[in-house]
Symmetry: C2
Subunit: 467 residues, 2 copies
């Protein structure tokens, strides 16, 4: 493998135009407004974008209450970013031409029907891609929802999104990650590559690599024909910041569907997955796991080994967690003699196994509260040199007890630099769970999911050690 | 295999004493009250039990405002059910003796430290089990939370639970399924076998087999040493009502943990799983899937084939669903010429693939609303003889559009007897999802999960055909 290349300064500067623009022209903005109009000018306002917005439409005086301009040349400043959302693909080249003439160096093309459509669309895509290259302009898309940056209230998507200021950078080949098919109410920064005719994974990764507001990077990969470049950059970035990836278009049928989705000419699934693995990238099998892992890397310390201690409010849940550890290549920890000495006084005399630590019998026997027994167990395991991380199964029904545990955990994780992953589950209890997570903890909807998160924290730590 | 045996009338009658008791004695009820007292008398009240409750405790005049009796013999009626919740295992045999003398024929033992504990506990368990057998009394437990029946406001668990009147019968070997480690706010009826020293899977299955309030049965299996009897009864019941099972204690370590949890002497995991498969029981890999499948069997028609149509508000989600179909052994349907004719007018001219049906481009091109395009697609696919079921990926961000779709789906499912599984995902949007589910629909948190549900509906249909 050749020596990793540093980011091209000019490429980085242009990526900043996409991600941190001070001004945006929406070129071909719709005059319609309201919920079904998908009006990007209106959305930029509702998302709270703090820069200047210039609608461009020859048939409008103003759009969403903002003065409109007949063409890009009339816009009174050289904007950082142009967004082209017209529905008619044939209109796109002329609009790009206008942007290039106006000196704009970063353009999002939302329009569909390029390589994601027919042969004509593919030709059209080649044409706009050459136009951009010749002019030294960067082009994001086509078939892209654009970019999101909650720190600026920026979201170029035509559908509304919740955003939170979290240090998570998303790179996706689908607007899916801007959509509400996600469970996580958070996105952080986002880049939708769409068909990826110019800006691709490498440029987006380099932006996050150099972005102090990003600590964890999240990828959605349908395919890439820049395999070597991708591996080079991803391998380098992965040593600095954890990367989590979801590879879709796995089956032959999935690849065919991806071709009409983003026109991706995918490398073989196994090849891409092997490359991701070699780069130390944590792979998720579905969106829920992607979000779990994002949460784990954002909130938990890495796991510096594979030995897991289990604390559970249910014996049955403890059994499932033991199964899950085995399935994930983790080991159920052997508590040290010191830990055994700390726990023994809590146990009923008939109880031999103290691991998994089953909270009910020891709570009943000791007369302590659930949170007291849980915390005695958690403190003992966190201090135990035979333990690398802990999984806690504790529901939200006794919310005050749960919050007492939640209050103590951040300091424990800080002191011992070991992760605690928390299996809870909510039906209508979203608020209770949010109260736990507000403490900076990571809650997972299921035991397997909590254990899998620990495993990926251990994998990444091993990758860093081997670097 | 021998001819299936009909349920023993007497065994069934005794199971009804557990599940539909008109009166309960809590033998050894605690005098403490409040949230940390785990007082079953108090809980029976707060769960709304409509029968008569008699606390038994020689050191109390009343418990939770209800007159207490010094011993079972003093209770003024022969109650249907006794619940023994004392913490001290050595006290249990004498209390069982009292119950037997009083003519009680159904007893729940909550107490722990029997086969789930040490050798002495195992002997004690053998002893109480023999006592019950000799007297013709049925014993549920020990180490059991007992029973739940929302139709009577009955829940003998010492922790609070939400219950809903749904036709779902749970049989578990852990209080876990009474606990809030579940996502689903519903339980239906429940039987916790605990250590299963007398009442076991067969009796519990027979109760649900004959219970008109139960349509779907949900099993949590750690292990059983009644393998042949289990297979006989489960195979028979499974032909009448769908059974969904989660087998835990899979690994060697998991089996060891299960032994200190419920003292189960498990058959080999593969043996149990093969038996479940042969009985036509849908197997779940974790609690979340168990709940998904319960929901699917409760709310969706069976899938009479393996050809799936996909309608998605995101192209990227469509690709993932295609992958998931392949992974689950389902086929992406080939729409019929009639369906193609119905959909073609909606498509932009550059769009070739109409399946997966990607809602955004066709909504933009047709000028229709999202729900209109989705419903045209859904109607066409449901009527299509090449389609056996549909998966819909549609988030809750456009909730009014989602509800318009939700309003139309029940009639479509009724007309064509094909399932529609709905992939949505909620962060803080639990209420929106509940609004969709209130229409009798099944919503899944993830595409794989929605597809897996369809697959199990197809598997069960095939099983019934082969019977």
């Amino acid at each position: 493998m050749s020596e990793p290349q540093p980011a091209m300064p000019d490429s980085l500067a242009q990526m900043k135009l996409f991600m941190e623009p001070r001004s945006i022209a929406v070129v071909g903005a719709t005059r319609q407004s309201g919920p079904d109009s998908f009006n990007i000018v209106e959305r930029l306002g509702s998302h709270g974008y703090r820069g200047r917005v210039y609608p461009v439409n020859p048939r409008a005086d103003s759009i969403a209450g903002i003065k409109a301009y007949p063409d890009v040349a009339s816009v009174p400043e050289k904007v950082d970013l142009a967004v082209i959302p017209v529905w008619e693909r044939s209109a796109v080249p002329a609009l790009i031409e206008q942007c290039i003439h106006a000196g704009i160096r970063a353009i999002v093309v939302v329009t569909q029907g390029f390589a994601d459509g027919d042969a004509e669309g593919r030709q059209l895509q080649d044409r706009i891609s050459r136009m951009a290259q010749d002019a030294g302009v960067r082009l994001l898309g086509p078939n892209s929802l654009g970019v999101a940056n909650p720190y600026l209230g920026l979201n170029t998507s035509f559908v509304p999104h919740r955003m939170e200021k979290i240090p998570l950078g998303v790179i996706c080949q689908s607007g899916l990650f801007f959509s509400h098919l996600r469970s996580m109410p958070i996105l952080g920064k986002g880049i939708d590559l769409g068909n990826g005719c110019d800006v691709h994974f490498a440029e987006a990764l380099e932006y996050y690599e150099n972005d102090p507001q990003t600590r964890v990077i999240l990828l959605h990969v349908e395919g890439t024909n820049e395999g070597r470049r991708f591996a080079e950059v991803a391998g380098r970035v992965s040593r600095k910041k954890p990367i989590v990836a979801l590879k879709s278009a796995r089956s032959k049928e999935g690849v065919a569907a991806a071709q009409s989705h983003t026109g991706s000419l995918s490398s073989k699934d196994e090849v891409v997955r092997a490359a991701l693995r070699q780069c130390g990238i944590a792979q998720a099998e579905n969106i829920e796991e992607l979000e779990d892992l994002a949460k784990a890397f954002l909130r938990l310390p890495l796991m510096k080994g594979r030995r897991v201690a289990i604390v559970s409010m249910s014996g049955g849940a403890g059994v499932m967690l033991v199964d899950a550890c085995g399935e994930q290549g983790l080991k159920v920890a052997e508590p040290s003699p010191e830990t055994r000495d700390k726990l023994r006084p809590l146990l009923p005399p008939w109880m031999h196994g103290m691991h998994p630590l089953d909270l009910w019998p020891i709570t009943a026997h000791s007369g302590l509260s659930l949170s007291e027994t849980a915390l005695i167990g958690l403190r003992a395991f966190m201090a135990d040199p035979n333990v690398d991380g802990v999984v806690l199964a504790f529901g939200t029904v006794f919310i005050e007890e749960a919050l007492r545990i939640a209050d103590a955990l951040p300091a424990l994780m800080e002191t011992y630099r070991k992760p605690v992953s928390w299996w809870t589950a909510t039906g209508a209890d979203g608020e209770r769970e949010a109260a736990i997570e507000k403490r900076g903890l990571a809650v997972f909807h299921g035991g397997e999911r909590a254990v899998r998160a620990l495993r990926k924290l251990a994998d990444y730590w091993e990758f860093l050690q081997a670097c």
